[in-house]
């Protein structure tokens, strides 16, 4: 188990925690977001590598039974300085629950192939 903290797994420990109910660990939320990000954007670009994830925050907890949706905003797009056939895309992603509360936010910096001219 990648997150050995009882309040993410045990209902009694969760009740006694600052969240007062079972919540997803941050890593769990990141994994879900990553899958939604790749599936949602799969047809639009092929990632060669993820260079960085910045400004990750968890403004609201993800609780058991929540339904999440992803919003993706392209922040920037530039050519690679060292490789003429590659580019670098920055995308901000947010996860929102069924009430519209923002549960997760981060910025992905992704290495992508350039389109043939």
């Amino acid at each position: 188990m990648y997150d050995p903290q009882p309040f993410h797994l045990d209902e009694d420990a969760a009740l006694a925690s600052v969240f007062q109910s079972l919540t997803a660990s941050g890593v769990h939320t990141i994994a879900v977001e990553n899958k939604m990000f790749h599936l949602d954007d799969g047809p639009r670009f092929v990632a060669l590598a993820q260079l960085a994830m910045t400004d990750i925050s968890f403004p609201s907890p993800v609780r058991a039974g929540d339904r999440l949706r992803i919003e993706v905003i392209c922040l920037s797009l530039r050519e690679s300085k060292s490789k003429p056939d590659r580019g670098v895309v920055e995308q901000q992603c947010k996860l929102l629950n069924q009430y519209g509360d923002e549960c997760f936010r981060c910025t992905h910096t992704i290495l992508v192939p350039k389109r043939a001219a």
Copy 2:
């Protein structure tokens, strides 16, 4: 599977990738780091919640068979502004492989209980 990209799972796709061998996905590396972080630091503090992870980067790939170790640096420690019985710790973590190459870096912002006076 949280990372549906073939070059993390398939040897032929990995050979054709920019990495030229199987590598861990970023989420996989984050999960491993999270476990090492909590186990390594478990006796030293109890996390109430993770408020943020910032400045995540992947300077070198994690390859199949690599052995990773963690380095943790405490960057700051302050009292919570809203809750007098809690504090906020910022810790920078690095994962290094068997050659000493830095594979992962991030800063965790963690809500912790204050010691009784």
